[in-house]
């Protein structure tokens, strides 16, 4: 079987110890929560940290709280737990849905919300064994100089492939990070950057502590749809999160949409609020929004599934997601 590179395993009991360990070992250390992303990547020799800092033994990272104003989800909350958490399902149904659609049951039992936020980007030329990548001649993201997807330029276009971030973006979620300099907060919509090599603003020495999501108003409707070829296990080929405040008569007060699995970061669909605000969520409006999304999305061959088809699925999935808002 594929073997892990050798490393020292640390399991600190406090957040401060974890941050200290990260600082002490610098680039030689990587934090690990559930390990469902990191461990296979280490087996593929994409990462060979001398120190692995497990953060699963830190009680405060497990905390889940539903307050009057916001929902607080600790970084190491497992996706399996979020998917079935009664209050998360009640207040944030699209998040529970997205968490429940990640990979398969065994992986969701290990995988965490913080890990899903920090999921490494994925590409057909990257998520492969050392032997395979050597035969390829390596790639821009790891050990090489060429991007085999674009074949030009110096920009890595590996795909953001996590399910929960687009939902968190539509719900106004914020990430609390803790590093050597203390704690800071970044809105999830600002958390990602357009660089497939490192696509988040989390600094190497920082840890995701929790995600906070404002408690949605009673008028908020939300949906998450994931396109994949199997009903389990697979990463998304395209995913769409939508959320909006819609009055009882169907009048839109606000509307947000995010698509992902196309480029290096989740893409916020622009111009939606302008188009929809004060309008009824009619089939014509939905069609217009879907068409607008289509124009904004240009998938690349970072995933080995036909790009023309993936692009054509954008308006279909946007429409189907919006139809779920209509249906409420």
């Amino acid at each position: 079987m594929l073997r892990l590179p050798p490393f020292l395993f640390h399991r600190p009991a406090t957040l401060q110890d974890a941050v200290d360990l990260l600082r002490e070992h610098g680039p030689a250390a990587l934090p690990m929560a559930g390990g469902t992303d990191l461990v296979p990547n280490m087996k593929h020799r994409l990462f060979e940290p001398a120190h692995v800092i497990s953060i699963t033994g830190i009680p405060e990272l497990h905390e889940v709280g539903v307050g009057e104003k916001e929902v607080t989800l600790g970084a190491t909350s497992t996706l399996a737990a979020l998917a079935v958490h009664p209050e998360v399902r009640q207040h944030l149904p699209s998040l529970a849905n997205a968490a429940g659609l990640v990979a398969g049951p065994q992986i969701r039992n290990r995988a965490t919300l913080g890990g899903n936020l920090c999921l490494d980007t994925r590409c057909t030329y990257y998520n492969q064994t050392e032997f395979w990548r050597k035969a390829l001649g390596y790639c821009l993201k790891k050990d090489g100089t060429v991007c085999h997807v674009t074949r030009v330029g110096k920009k890595c276009v590996a795909a953001h492939s996590a399910d929960t971030p687009p939902v968190l973006m539509t719900l106004g979620g914020q990430v609390d990070l803790r590093g050597p300099e203390g704690e800071r907060t970044v809105p999830v919509r600002d958390f990602f950057v357009h660089d497939g090599i490192r696509n988040t603003r989390r600094q190497p020495g920082e840890l995701v502590v929790r995600v906070r999501i404002p408690r949605p108003s009673p008028e908020t409707r939300m949906a998450y749809l994931k396109l994949r070829q199997r009903k389990s296990i697979d990463f998304p080929l395209l995913s769409v999160a939508v959320a909006g405040e819609v009055e009882e008569d169907g009048t839109v007060r606000d509307l947000r949409g995010v698509v992902t699995a196309l480029g290096s970061r989740p893409k916020e669909l622009s111009g939606w609020a302008e188009m929809a605000k004060g309008e009824r969520l009619t089939p014509e409006l939905v069609e217009g929004l879907a068409e607008r999304a289509f124009k904004q999305c240009h998938p690349l061959e970072n995933i080995i599934v036909d790009t023309e088809w993936r692009r054509a699925m954008v308006p279909v999935y946007v429409r189907r997601a919006l139809e779920q808002l209509q249906a409420v």
Binding site: R3, Y125, D234, W309
Partner: protein, 809 residues
Amino acid sequence: MGDSNGVPDSANSLSDLTMIGQPMRKVDGLDKSTGRATYTDDIALPGMLHGKILRSPHPHARILRVDVSRAESMKGVHGVVTGKDMPVLYGIIPWTQDEYPLALDRVRYIGDGVAAVAAVDEDTAIRALAAIEVEYEELPAHLDPFQALAARGDYEAGDYIHPPRKEGWNGNITKQVTLEFGDVAGQIQGSEHVIECEYYFEGTTHAAIEPHCAIGLASGDGRLTVWSTTQVPHYLHRELARVFEVDPAMVRVLQPPVGGAFGGKSEPFDLEFCVAALSLKTGRPVKILYTREEVFYSHRGRHPFHMRYRTGLDANGRLTGVDAQIVLDGGAYASFGLVTTYYSGQLLCAPYELPAYRFHSRRAYTNKPACGPKRGHGSVQPRFAFEVQLDKLAEKAGLDPIDLRRRNFIGADTRTVNELRITSNGFLECLDAVERASGWADKFRKLEYGRGVGVAGSTYISGTNYPIYPNEMPQSGVQIQIDRSGRVAVFSGASEIGQGTDSMVAYVAAEELGVPLEHVRVLRGDTDFTPVDLGAYSSRVTFMLGNACIDACRKLKKQVQGAVSEVWEVKPQEVLLAGGWALWARDTERKMPIREAFNLAEAKFGTLGATGSYNTPKDIHGDYRGGTIGASPAYSFTAHVAEVEVDVETGVVEVSKIWIAHDCGRALNPVLVEGQMEGSAYMGCAEALLEEHVFKDGDHGRQGLHNAPSLLDYRIPTSLDTPELESLIVESLDPEGPYGAKEAGEGPLHPSIPAIANAIYDAVGVRVDVLPFSPPRVWKALQEARASGKLGKPPAPERARVPERGAKR
């Protein structure tokens, strides 16, 4: 089960049987489900080393130099071998041996083995691989089979992947076959309807959950022992003796339980030779376990087939002639390719009568992992094309596709156009069963747009009449020994790969000798102690081993009957053995425990033991070159109806249900037969919708690099993606099969794919003649149809249907 599916009562002698035909446990089921079963990788021998194989990063290259000195001197490394340590060509088919255990002077695909290391642990072995220096001279890579077949030049320059078999030949051709039966051109010319279409079957791999694993032990006394996940211990035994020039009597092959094979373990692989060579070199046991990636490189999966069919139909809906042209993309080595090339044409000639038939098949070498046999070897691809072709013809002729198939039924006790001998044939009953169960008449062309049903039929062999290497010896053997405790030990040569051969012989022994199932022990998978069986391939085991087991049991039964009848002073044939008792047939109150009966027999005859064997009928095939290939003692028949839902916007096809009717002759254990039928349909469905065994090209990374050698990206269905499967067993009671049994392991796969293809057409009126029917491909076909205004439900057949079983028998 059987009785509800049209088995005539008169032909049913189930009443004479007490075990056979009953649902029974698998004898190894509890061990496997509790984790007690010891698979090859579970074995750890004292002092065992771990091996790794260095593989080529080039699709086609000359090896200029291999320097292992640095690796050899590393701490923890005990031995390194290269191609020069085993410079003997091997190959499963004696006429096309073209592989070295490790590449000698040329590598032919990305992943070809070059050197192997044995070290104290895997990590050390992996580090040692990195220390081996190999100098390559890259050669042009041939990835397209048509270009490979058209190549001209010479082997040394890299124009050919192998040295031409004869001077002036193209070295990229493994085999070509042209066979014609009847006047094809004339027959087709006089047809009412003629269609000619092209089809492409993308290759697929087996994806058995257990990766290949082997352990070698050269014990220093001249004996060489290899444990392996093989499904052909006998052929491995022969090839080990040949490559290492050891007397076969000094070679022992052990086959622990195998965690799935499906044809992917049916020939020797580099790791089996490497563990032997490394053990010979180090004097210690050596284990190699493939990574999943290596399993993909070793492959031997289903060949990609480029197919063109020209087919004619007369005014009565009877086939007139079939003309087929096929190019097989073989990959780097021959493997079973010679047989595959013949099978691509030979196995199409039933269950329909073909008045005239011609096929021209060529297998090309390409610089990709070698293709070989996968469940339904060589005949799944043409069956896909042909059954879709029939669907198209039915529509052209205004016939219901089930009706068309009935009209062309070949019948029982007959000969195919290529002179294969058909005995029992339950194909019409299969069609009846799926038609009824699926509610076909209310669904075909009648479901709402987006939903549809499709039908397909097929046939498959129950083993081959001629073994892989020519010999006159039996194809299968067992030895049985009875202990005075009442325990029956069966020494079986067969290969248990999960399909249930151990269980099958136990059922036969329990049935024949009247002992409870749990008193039968099966010892299998050890060439030192079991008679030869040729292996688990070509769906041969139940038919051949079952008959061999009956043969051995009846010899013993005769002794037991003789001993008991003497005491009872009755006729020997009046002594029944059943349910743990010896009973008098005239008055079953007169009985004794079976153990006492065995003791009487042992007292009279000495230690109780017998051997049994089975050999195939010979000289019943056509008298032409290739006529032996495809000849089987019996053929199974299958029909499927698949129901699908197509998402017209996305192209996503969901198979909601497959009805599978299979004529297995007799279901020795209906539970296992249903398991094979469901597993087959599942596998076919996977190939139809998901599996893509494809490679990068020069514009996408690297020529010949496997697209995605992992089970994350090579997608097989999860439980959520698996359709509902309904098995309908049909029993035609074959005159030569054990209790009338025929195969059930491979045949039921075939119709899945064309039935789904035909159902997609019924659902949305779009033909997809290229596999797999992935969402992008179906979506594109829908887009094209939409653009040309052809989107819509296809027309319903105009002509009246022939009622069930109305066609000629």
